[in-house]
Assembly symmetry: C2
């Protein structure tokens, strides 16, 4: 399980930054932020398995199954998901865990469409990437008991950020959106998405300066 | 996911019967009961995989991976677990889901000890079988907001039932307890366990007649 962790941790940072923008102390958001990252890690551990993506490497190191065997990787993924839910359930309200589990079901559904190769690309992205990005923000909103109407613009921002992340991912990997609209087309889509995300942030009644940096970072990342 | 369901459904029956003994309408317990069964199903789907127990058959039919392939079985198991949590989160209180997830982590830990073949048999049973049996009762207690002190004798009963189930399982399969203490020894342990379970029930201030039938059924089952 420990071997599965690493990378940019952009989802928990997003969760913590959302909390900060809403005036919360980081400690209040840590279980939710960690839970979102553990769900992300769970999905990578299982997606890397031989019968799925068959990836022997992850972040420049052996993937969990390549290092410890398939059986351990399956159980480690299962335990990462269960531990994520346990952390999300450390809040008084069940809404943090609900947020997380809905996103997890979306992601698994997305991966299922992916292996069947029948889904629309946009739908896949929304499910696989957008769902957990949205949950990173949504778990912060839930943990802080932000009222539903106030949540809406935050959620629109979160979906936009998920789209931005995926477009840039495709530019880096040369697939997905790049195959659909070409490299320049994808760059244009990413820039438009970044503009919409920044506009969404600017319209929020909160100090969103750290979130604005996250948008810039996502839009300009090259790896 | 649908292919993974079936069998005796003893855990959800136990959950519903616990609720009935406590005076609840079945509908109140149905999400919790289904959640416990989905966790059980999740564990079977993943345990059957080639890298774990490599079982091609389950309940006289092809196991999920044998029928639909490993990738689908991994994702179906993941989704069964996530859907179980979603159902457990349909209650106002997060305690049903907490109960379920703690048991799930125990089960996964038990399976991990099993594949490493380093654990004590008793510890394994407690984790793998006892945890979810206990949760079948515990989820009913949590769903009905039964106060903690009132829960204790119920939980002792649930652990006893888990032990009973496992001893009889070993008698049927000729392994586990049978290898430790012989067939007659295991039968004696099962009978003693059934007596303790019935005594536990008799001491409860509730109509436990259906639960008493479940104990008899578990003690005398031959398949």
């Amino acid at each position: 399980m420990r071997h599965a962790l690493g990378g940019k941790r952009v989802r928990p940072v997003l969760c913590l930054a959302t909390g900060e923008a809403l005036g919360a102390a980081p400690a209040e958001l840590l279980p939710a932020a960690a839970a979102v990252e553990l769900v992300h890690s769970f999905s990578l551990v299982h997606d890397d398995l031989p019968s799925l993506d068959n990836d022997r490497e992850r972040r420049g190191a052996p993937s969990v199954w390549a290092q410890y065997g398939e059986a351990t990787a399956i159980l480690a993924g299962d335990a990462l998901l269960a531990e994520a839910v346990r952390l999300a359930l450390s809040y008084r309200t069940p809404s943090v865990a609900r947020e997380l589990v809905d996103a997890t079901l979306g992601m698994i559904g997305g991966q299922w469409l992916d292996i069947r190769d029948e889904g629309q690309r946009e739908e896949l992205h929304r499910l696989k990437t957008g769902a957990l990005f949205s949950a990173a923000v949504g778990c912060a909103l839930a943990a802080l008991d932000v009222p539903e109407p106030t949540q809406r613009p935050w959620r629109a921002f979160a979906l936009e950020l998920g789209l931005l992340f995926q477009i840039v991912d495709d530019i880096i990997d040369g697939d997905g959106f790049v195959l659909d609209v070409g490299a320049d087309g994808a760059r244009g889509l990413a820039d438009d998405s970044a503009v919409r995300a920044q506009q969404g942030l600017a319209a929020l009644d909160a100090d969103t300066s750290v979130l604005a940096e996250i948008v810039d970072g996502l839009a300009s990342r090259i790896a």
